[in-house]
Homo-oligomer: 755 residues x 2
Amino acid sequence: MKRIFEVDPWKIVTHQFNPEDKRLQESMTAIGNDYMGMRGNFEEGYSADSLQGTYLAGVWFPDKTRVGWWKNGYPEYFGKTPNAPSFIGLGITVNGEKIDLAKVKFSDFYLSLDMHQGLLTRSFVYEGKDTKVKFEFRRFLHIVQKEAALIEVKATVLSGRAKIDFDSTLDGTVVNEDSNYNEHFWLSLGENEDDRTIQVKTKENPYEVPQFTVLLKESLRHDGKIVTGDVTSSEAKLSEKLSVELDEGQSYELEKDVIVVTSRDVDDKDQLAVANELMTKLQNKSFEENLVDHEATWNKRWQTSDVQIDGDPAAQQGIRFNILQLFMTYYGEDARLNVGPKGFTGEKYGGATYWDTEAYIVPMYLAVTKPSVTRALLQYRHDQLPGAYHNAKQQGLPGALFPMVTFNGIECHNEWEITFEEIHRNADIPHAIAMYTEYTGDDSYVKNEGMDVLVGTARFWAARVHWSKWRNKYVMHGVTGPNEYENNVNNNWFTNTMARWLLQYTLKRLPLATAEAKARVKVTDEEKAKWQDIVDKMYLPEDKDLGIFLQQDDFLDKDIRPVSEIEDQRPINQNWSWDKILRSPFIKQADVLQGIYFLNDQYTKEQKEKNFDFYEPLTVHESSLSPCIHSILAAELGKQEKAVELYERTARLDLDNYNNDTVDGLHITSMSGSWLAIVQGFAGMRYNDGKLSFKPFLPKKWDRYSFKINYRGRLLSIEMSDQAKITLISGEPIDVKVYDQDVHLREGESKCLKD
Amino acid sequence: MKRIFEVDPWKIVTHQFNPEDKRLQESMTAIGNDYMGMRGNFEEGYSADSLQGTYLAGVWFPDKTRVGWWKNGYPEYFGKTPNAPSFIGLGITVNGEKIDLAKVKFSDFYLSLDMHQGLLTRSFVYEGKDTKVKFEFRRFLHIVQKEAALIEVKATVLSGRAKIDFDSTLDGTVVNEDSNYNEHFWLSLGENEDDRTIQVKTKENPYEVPQFTVLLKESLRHDGKIVTGDVTSSEAKLSEKLSVELDEGQSYELEKDVIVVTSRDVDDKDQLAVANELMTKLQNKSFEENLVDHEATWNKRWQTSDVQIDGDPAAQQGIRFNILQLFMTYYGEDARLNVGPKGFTGEKYGGATYWDTEAYIVPMYLAVTKPSVTRALLQYRHDQLPGAYHNAKQQGLPGALFPMVTFNGIECHNEWEITFEEIHRNADIPHAIAMYTEYTGDDSYVKNEGMDVLVGTARFWAARVHWSKWRNKYVMHGVTGPNEYENNVNNNWFTNTMARWLLQYTLKRLPLATAEAKARVKVTDEEKAKWQDIVDKMYLPEDKDLGIFLQQDDFLDKDIRPVSEIEDQRPINQNWSWDKILRSPFIKQADVLQGIYFLNDQYTKEQKEKNFDFYEPLTVHESSLSPCIHSILAAELGKQEKAVELYERTARLDLDNYNNDTVDGLHITSMSGSWLAIVQGFAGMRYNDGKLSFKPFLPKKWDRYSFKINYRGRLLSIEMSDQAKITLISGEPIDVKVYDQDVHLREGESKCLKD
């Protein structure tokens, strides 16, 4: 655990600058606007250790799979988000000395990310030999005009005289740091000094993945008016230089406006004209006016999604940070996109779509955004069904196999133990259809497009199991469960359980499908009988003496001991060799417990308790996806202290760098976990059988918490202090259950209840 | 199965040239002299599909490990033998047309590898518009003067007139084809046109692996006298051009002599002088005289190692081909070297040392070469113990872990399921110490250096097992057995058995060690007690009902069915996805049966029979190491037909391209398998408890076979026809057993016996 920012309910703020924490600072002050994003790099440049990163949603590159030993079925490429052409650059020289916080003397450092609207503010006083200059930066990515980035710097001479040279740059000569061996992904299409643009294109690939073109345009303003400097360019680079001379007490403010357009939206040949137009539009308003527009949209988002926590500012800061970062990554406004595990904050995971979206994002977004946002996420997978059929075929199996990692539906990750084996995703992803249907009450998706997904995946599962004469059961070999600290295991309880669920749910929903859907999927009676047989005879390993489900065959043969015995060796993924991790009993993230979370209403309290008590002590939570699931189950089981401990781990995973890996970027897809821990955990929200219910408790050290949810056209607020207060803010009357008591609410009405 | 060469007892010969079989032809006509080797490429060049390859023993390059996702403990590099600078080039143009068998018209193609001495002969008639020219090539790598390669071409004009331009080249601008992404490994150190040399150096690496320097020199002779042409050069390339004009009936012979010296033997700065000296020495004799010297040495090798088979020319050809290729790869004359799985015939496997050496090469070399050759192989591992300690440390374990793949003792392969898990090697490699000691009767190694190896590996094993409270046994998780079609399994019977054997053997040998060895290894009483406890309580999975050992936990849970059901899908490693292979019951190579082979005297005939009958039908033999082990066990169990079938598969694996992969190169380390199948299989040779014994049978379709062995200072011959005849050719009198009958032999004496 390491905390480098101060606790504040609405700010990520620090007055310190420690070079050793530079990457961590950059991750934590990353900003985005669902269209693009960037790490918290410094405008003026920084020559010591740093991870420079700018990323464009949906712009990716298929990087050739390079392994020492090829395995049949490997995807040909590893998909990754290339570091995008950088537009942050605003170099500064004072009296000939380049401002570089790795080298110059400075004081009064201040850095703050305002969570109301994702405005990044930074200032410091440069202390030259005879001169002191205060520099103040502001930066935001426009949430209304998504193609726009606005950067402002103000220099104030505190003492002496200063000749200040500014150098505004666009730079397409960037590389990725993570496993791309310093190769360049971008080819220059030319620089335009008059228009102050560079245009680049991702390099060719042999995989029929489109080459993306990106055009960047910059323009400088002073005092709201365009100013022009000396422009020079070289391959994929452009620079505009401007100088001012200031006496003591004088100040000068310079604004760098940037427009970024990509071939996802604008044809290559139109990009220049469109960028020019967008720049004009942007510059019709001042920096402040643009910021007001930007802030207004953010306010609207917060109105329905803010979670308030009184009495624990660290918890409050954590959840707001998570909500902000989530919404900066994805707010459902472009259905072609999805939620990359690191969002726009780092390179790892390639930026693509994982099962995280369905398992962790969907249950939160169902409640904090419009149903159409979740439906777009479901549609995204439906659109990618051809890729899923391709993936199954690669493994020699029928049906559809959703990928572990993808941009276009085709698997683009290439570790066999993940790609070929971590197939539980193929039930987790369709499981979101059930969640959507259950939460929204809208069954139009499951009856139609959803049926293509269910039947496609059902066919995969029915072929992936095999009959074991030895056990007289259907078994499933060679899988990796959510606990990726085991690979290639047999009969992972979670995978077997979810595969069985998928078949059962498909059989249940199939009769209700539309005629068109039935005609498309053409399920035969023989198939249905086979699926039912698998449902009836699936092997689900358990130990009756211990009263637990077994994570996989022979789990008990391990050297079982609690994590508390190895505290000094954590995180094990950084301190242990891979084989030692695999052999150990330690669990990366919920596995059996993930199943109990997903299919929560199918298990008794005793089953939940025994499994929780057995598995939680073995769990190292080295996946960001882990603590929230445990927190929710702990809350359900009345283990309130444990629930809070794990909530804190979820909510402040990045802010406190729990797993010592936030330098690589933020854990975006797990950020919903803190919301889930409060809403499904502390407040005990469930929505089974068309009935919303709550069982709230208040963590000991909190005074109060409250949140709002959208539910079937209504807006409800739940507030918990010494009692639970539920309010129907808007919408038709509704019946809910609180502490198992029936509550009827009309619009505007509140009810207070105690357990 | 595909046979492209004719059957001949002493030749690999063909009168056909099929471009589609070019790579196969190149593998099969590879030649080597233990110092260097080359594939059967064409001197004049060939523009269609081909794998050009020249390799230098002990010259390697550490290629950065490149994976999408790093795992702790991965070796930093993958070691590989880079394609060496090529000296084969002798381009030919006739009346302006370049001779290229992919393009020109030709007839009377002939290609032959004479197995007496590894002389490659090729001829064809070029049919130009108005000219016919016969070209005859001869090529060999000098077995006495190892740095020398001799190439001869003779052109005879059959009709018309011919202006023939020769272009003798040296070329350092070569790349590898296999997983190095077309990168160049060689940097030019300069070309010397006067001396006709190029000198190159492997590029820098950050792993403290020495950069190797190689100098090549060529010189042309005609009629035994040096001739000079026009020399030109470019970076890492040299060319010497010469023209002749010939009338119909005239012929011209040109000899290209080559010297190759490397920094393994000669300092960079001395290489030119040494190469000049060696060339002078070589050219003191004519091509024919050099060939006579070369042949004399080969004759000596054959005298003690030839295996004769009457009545089955294909079987005869197979075993001679294997012995030739083995001896061309390694004859024990340079103790720094070892036996790469593809020798000098291809790129795959990197050219490094595998456990194959100890498991497959040692038991043959013990009998066909001097004991010092095997002892050198043992010493090679002892010299690499520091690397083995490093490897164990990488995994967080004490003791020594011999690598799966290495050049210097440090693991240099990087699939976790192999590197981290296929650890049975760490008992198989020390097992050669027991074989050496038992066969030679020389215990000086095991008492001294051998003890370092035994104790180092024992310490690894004692830490790698863990105590299972559930089973009340020591267990071993997360391993890959010899059957690499399973990964990350628990309690692989073979690995558990061999680990137990190693501990037991170490405990047995330790009291007999020298005082110095004991002082070095410092084994405590506590350690000994722990090792004994593991020996006593090791879990060895078995199924008592079936009477078999279980390859691993839950093996019976698989969808068990014989290979005969999937004949149309073989080889599965080319037709199935990796995950399908892993889940299947099909076995790549002997696993349980490998253990029964290694520790042959510990199992009853019934145990052998039941395990053989269970596992052999599940085995696809897609490792070249597989059929011989099965052949030997089949022979022991009286399954003579099966033994012969598997012998043929072993002996002609490459000649008949059984696994459809000989295009990549020959399976060198398994070539001893055919010898083992005859000697340990058909002739039933054993050498337990200091007593040599035989139980020969004659395969039905053979008339006779015979072989010779060195045994404890004696040379014996065994000949089997309608009866067994054993002869002590030289050495002290000896008592052996034949068909369980005691036989006493004096020098020069033969005895004949029947079963």
